[in-house]
Symmetry: none
Subunit: 394 residues, 2 copies
DNA sequence: CGTCTGCTTGAATCGCACC
DNA sequence: GGGTGCGATTCAAGCAGAC
């Protein structure tokens, strides 16, 4: 029965499973949105639908509690449950979990945060979902995961050994010659309860066209957090089967259940040849996309602009346009000849069709041709510090 | 009564306030931790019903509901409420707010996330808090705040107009000659519901030693989101008075209430001279581009200077001297006539014996006497934003 | 006043063109 | 021909306008 997708209402199906046999249960239950969802897959050939309609919240609570009680009995003493939750049903889910697992076994509210396309909505752009993490007992299995130190952490604190001086203050350790002492290798910062994982991208090959499909990366992190290889992972509302795919990819055993025949079929197909999109963003880090020095942009204090990161020629575009075309901004890089800056900016102007652009000159020496402040629609403006400098030396 | 801190139980104090007079209520209600312990004693044998959500914590729910009902009546039709929430009380608070304000007036669950020093605890490092945002009606006041585009977004999407082709695919629009078509002005991405704001640094000057003190930046963002200058902000559990300080700094009226005599005193003291630590992280971080804080001295980016406090005439002195005398700097204040700035600076030059000084002009209109860039040793330099503005309009 | 359809939109990968 | 810069493309939320 292990490593398969079962069809049916998880309430019935779970009754046939062994008690205390499961290491991790992940579920993304139908939400309490009082709406029926239908969505087609990519080529429009198939339609998935599920019914989120509940007469009132008590019915929904009853539905959930019945099932979560069985899940509780299926979990090993060292097991954990992760419940993915829409904002509309949050408080109901929390109440049910508190009553079945006990509020003392609440471990974390995980925030999965991501960036997304925007819309014209009045209000804040929704950019997160909540996952509740409860353990069956104090004895739960937990693998520590470490992440890179935050950029603002002082490097010395990572590398150097620390000790206490005669006044019992923490100081960096030095040897008798005053040389820096390096400490043990540190693993990084323990994983926090806010997880920034990119939303399943529209271009991702991983997509199977199932509504609410989760990124495999998210599930992998959950699985690796509380299970070891060979453990059993159960998803009672498995949908497109992401949990099972992630389990397979991380060498765990899995069991998926879904009420929809088409979902079961999709999951089974997916498991035959799992596709996982590596996130470039996560692999390379946000910083790898940066090409603008944020200090440089501070020069534009008081100007309305949008920074531009993936372009060699320009650092920003002004919000204000010039004759209907964009105004590009380049800030001269340290030690960059002004002529180079001009030619890069000029090229960008051509491709972007800009009629007027601005070059902020940050280096004192100009073109050596006397004062030039406008070439081919490029306006050259010196930084305040150069202007001040000039006033003082002439 | 406006702009003061009142002492007492907010339940009583709020009854004396005018109905429909408040624009924003922010509260960080106390949570009864003793009651939480009794929650642990549940025997689990009880039949679940929706009322169990409140179950043993009914007293707390009652306490909250009584007060939130009054708050609802104090709010204007265009007003909003932000409730800061401990994770143990989350679902109770949500249930109360849903019942008083109506679930259709739920706007956002704001996640305040921050980095923290790690601890050795088994489990995930807690690094966020939740704030619930409800409006009194559909008609709520809302000021859009924009942030920088993601680093991975490409410029053309910001610049170019898009349409759909015959196959209903999104493509860049071209005119009949194949030229690029430009879109409307773009200000950036609307603010999302996940706010990364550094936790108050233990060493920060801002810290006044109150246990649950919040960063002023967090409160400022809330205030600016749903109120305008001159509006009234109420904090019924004001503690150390951060909400009131933030209101004062953003030119809103405020009213704070607290039951603790010492908290009231502390708040009053703090309001006399509010201290705000500008978070370095936010200043440099990627989210800061569009809403850089408007500290005037930031204009001097790249110039070596010493700031001058408590002097009517000058804001800074350059490290560089001019003919052995100090170079004074004044930054024109908002709405200050240039002539006034000049005469104040001139007076300061006399007393300090300065031969050359610098006036940074921040307002577009000059002296009305044509171009003047030097008077009696005062060099007048326009900010970059004015210089750019001129290049685009002439 | 529901229901349907269309439009705008940003993130992030894909993939082409250019050295 | 391999790397990389950057332009093109895809998808779904949610409002607007139609009916």
């Amino acid at each position: 029965m292990i490593n398969s997708i079962l069809h049916g209402d998880c309430f019935e199906v779970m009754k046939s499973l062994d008690e205390e046999s499961v290491d991790l249960i992940y579920l993304d239950p139908p939400f309490f949105t009082e709406k029926t969802h239908t969505l087609k897959n990519r080529d429009g050939s198939k339609e998935f639908s599920f019914d989120d309609t509940w007469g009132d919240s008590a019915n929904y609570a009853r539905f959930l509690k019945d099932r979560i009680e069985i899940m509780h009995s299926l979990l090993k003493d060292t097991g954990s449950i992760f419940v993915h939750c829409d904002k509309s049903g949050e408080h109901i889910v929390r109440a049910v979990l508190d009553s079945v697992f006990g509020s003392n076994n609440f471990q974390s509210e995980i925030i999965w945060s991501y960036k997304r396309w925007s819309n014209a909505k009045k209000g804040l752009l929704p950019a997160h979902q909540n996952i509740y993490f409860y353990s069956k007992s104090k004895n739960f299995k937990f693998n520590r995961i470490f992440k890179a130190y935050s950029e603002t952490t002082n490097v010395d604190q990572i590398l150097q050994k620390r000790t206490r001086n005669e006044k019992n203050k923490t100081v960096y350790a030095k040897d008798s010659f005053g040389n820096i002492q390096y400490g043990e290798k540190k693993k990084g910062v323990p994983l926090s309860d806010v997880w920034e994982i990119p939303y399943l991208n529209p271009k991702a090959k991983e997509r199977v066209g199932y509504p609410t499909q989760k990124p495999i990366l998210l599930l992998e992190q959950i699985i690796e957090l509380v299970t070891d290889a060979g453990d059993l992972v159960l998803d009672p509302f498995c949908g497109s089967g992401t949990t099972c795919v992630a389990s397979k990819l991380t060498n765990r055993n899995y069991l998926g259940i879904d009420q929809s025949e088409s979902a079961v079929e999709l999951s089974r197909e997916r498991l035959k040849k799992p596709i996982k999109t590596e996130s470039n963003l996560l692999k390379k880090g946000r910083k790898s996309y940066l090409n603008v020095d944020s200090n440089a942009l501070n020069l534009l204090q008081g100007v309305e602009f949008n920074p531009v990161q993936r372009n060699k020629g320009i650092d920003a575009i002004l919000v204000e346009q010039f004759e209907g075309t964009p105004v590009l901004v380049r800030i001269q890089k340290p030690n960059e000849p002004l002529a180079d800056a001009i030619s890069l900016l000029k090229k960008a102007m051509e491709t972007k069709g800009s009629k007027k652009s601005i070059l902020i000159q940050t280096e004192k020496e100009g073109l050596g041709l006397g004062l030039i402040d406008s070439i081919d629609g490029i306006e050259i403006i010196e930084t305040l510090s150069i202007q001040i400098d000039k006033k003082l030396t002439t």
